[in-house]
């Protein structure tokens, strides 16, 4: 399945998907509400069968005031991949947990929570993954300020 075919198949799957520009692989944007159901559709579709969640991470678009969740899915049978994005409100980022769809999402979501502060609903074990439980703030946010962190004094 080439890029356009894949994209059209995905877009025909649900009207809630919208194509995303400026990516090197087929990419769609999905609404946050019902993300779990959409992902289940992508995983169980016979021609798509995205059974591996390779990347789950987030991007802090501070100018737009959004946090974008980025999921890159890979099919182990057809070897094609798809990028799914979802935009959250930056001030109050809440998203549904995908740990029921892919087991690994549990950890990836913990990491995103740790570094970006995205809260996941229905997550089995939402706590920080890499930093201490009492860490103040979420370091990968663009406006993260830490007195400990040193700026490089020269360019």
């Amino acid at each position: 399945m080439n890029r356009t075919e894949l994209l059209s198949t995905v877009l025909s799957l649900s009207t809630e998907f919208s194509p995303r520009e400026k990516t090197d692989r087929p990419a769609v944007l999905a609404p946050v509400q019902g993300l779990t159901d959409l992902m289940l559709k992508l995983r169980d579709h016979s021609e798509l069968s995205f059974d591996m969640l390779t990347v789950a991470t987030a991007i802090d678009w501070i100018k737009e005031g959004k946090i974008e969740l980025v999921y890159i899915l890979i099919s182990s049978t057809f070897k094609h991949s798809l990028q799914v994005g979802a935009l959250l409100d930056r001030e109050k980022p809440v998203a549904p947990s995908l740990s029921s769809v892919w087991a690994i999402a549990e950890w990836q979501e913990r990491e995103i929570f740790d570094l970006f502060g995205v809260r996941y609903l229905n997550h089995p074990d939402l706590r920080r993954l890499l930093l201490e439980d009492d860490w103040n703030g979420h370091p990968l946010r663009k406006d993260y300020v830490d007195d400990f962190m040193l700026e490089r004094p020269w360019r």
Binding site: V55, R119, V145
Partner: protein, 400 residues
């Protein structure tokens, strides 16, 4: 611990509860039901423990010798690499990747360099690609040699460790000739290679291959055929293919579970499409399969290098102007490759400047560690050590 730090965006999402490690441990605590029931206890394995391969900490709930629950606690080498990457240019990212999974530093370099090249749509010549492939395969052998030695040590046999390192040093010496470094090479750069190869490089590689092929049989004699090894590995830590895919395991861990998914075959990069090699696949996905798959991979890597080493094409080893500023057009770029431990991915979010807006490393050990949790429950402590070792964890790669 008192650390001064603040966030600009203070969160007020009280409706989603956040747990902590103490709460998690309490969650698994349960009092014995009767006087006859055994009392379960918690024990810390790590951060300083000989067989966690670094500073991984596992909080184990044990019932005698049996592991009931595993709570991994990560972050003991979390260096904030992804944050640092936002402050430095694309060329400098390569040296960060060296310190991710330091046992396959060259392959990590390659992923980063390739991500930049694909984003900038730079065409490379055959010499660069061939050399990169040879280096990657040599590094795969080197990484598996170390794994083999450490695997033996974790099972209680100390001698394989020294045999593995004896041969690993030979590849290290070959690398050192060309790159001047033994472990963190920083050699494969966006646009080519740092320098041309050492003139003696092809001869030394051929000598090494000639030396190493019989040595692999020696490895088998020392360790593979041992009856205790069979007893310790067979049927232990079974990871079925479906679970392996669901947790996103990759590399030998996934292939031992019977899923033939190797990026070198399915999405060829470098000059892998021009070479003949098999992808070893296991059947049951136990520790023994992972062991055999890795041993076979060493043989296949030898095959690949043998095909390439005799006819390295001529040409320049750097196609970009060295030192030129790299600016990547706006967009999200994702590139992945097969390292010795699995799929290493780099997600670049570029905003048109010299520095990435966001850089994310998708590391193989992160997912592979998760598979350990599902494998080791209900087994003995010694099995947990064997499983951890058969999955071949590198902790700085998980923590980044």
């Amino acid at each position: 611990m008192e650390i001064t730090g603040m966030t600009a965006a203070t969160m007020s999402n009280t409706e989603v509860p956040v747990s902590s490690l103490d709460e998690r441990i309490k969650f698994f605590q349960n009092e014995p039901q009767s006087a006859l029931a055994t009392q379960e206890y918690f024990v810390n394995m790590g951060p300083q423990h000989p067989s966690t391969h670094g500073v991984l900490r596992l909080v184990l709930k044990m019932d005698g010798e049996t592991v009931r629950e595993i709570i991994p606690v990560l972050g003991y080498v979390h260096r904030g690499m992804e944050k640092k990457a936002e402050y430095i240019g694309y060329r400098q990212q390569v040296h960060l990747t060296d310190r991710l999974d330091y046992l396959c530093a060259l392959m990590n370099n390659w992923v980063m360099a390739d991500a930049v090249e694909r984003a900038m749509k730079i065409e490379l010549n055959d010499r660069i690609l061939t050399l990169r492939t040879i280096f990657a395969e040599l590094q795969r052998i080197q990484s598996h040699q170390l794994w083999w030695g450490v695997f033996g040590m974790d099972l209680g046999a100390f001698t394989p460790f020294l045999y593995g390192f004896r041969d690993r040093e030979k590849i290290t010496a070959i690398f050192e000739d060309t790159m001047g470094a033994r472990l963190t090479m920083n050699y494969i750069q966006p646009g080519g290679l740092m320098y041309d190869i050492h003139p003696e490089f092809p001869r030394k590689v051929k000598d090494f291959l000639k030396y190493f092929k019989p040595i692999l049989n020696e490895y088998d004699e020392l360790f593979t055929g041992n009856v205790i090894v069979h007893q310790r590995l067979k049927g232990i830590g079974i990871l079925d293919g479906k679970t392996a895919i669901s947790v996103g395991a990759s590399g030998p861990v996934l292939r031992a579970s019977g899923v033939s998914y190797d990026l070198r075959k399915s999405d060829p990069y470098g000059v892998y499409s021009k070479t003949q090699f098999e992808v070893p696949v296991g059947t049951t996905g136990d520790c023994w399969d992972r062991y055999i798959v890795r041993m076979q991979e060493m043989r296949e890597s030898i095959r690949i290098v043998e095909q390439l080493i005799d006819n390295i094409p001529e040409g320049p080893t750097m196609v970009m102007k060295f030192g030129a500023k790299i600016r990547i057009p706006e967009g999200i770029y994702y590139n992945q490759m097969e390292t010795a431990r699995g799929i290493l991915g780099v997600m670049l979010v570029a905003d048109g400047t010299e520095k990435p807006y966001r850089l994310h490393f998708r590391t193989p050990n992160f997912n592979n560690l998760w598979s350990v949790i599902s494998m080791a429950k209900g087994l003995r402590l010694a099995d947990l050590v064997a499983i951890l070792s058969s999955v071949d964890i590198v902790v700085p790669d998980i923590d980044r």
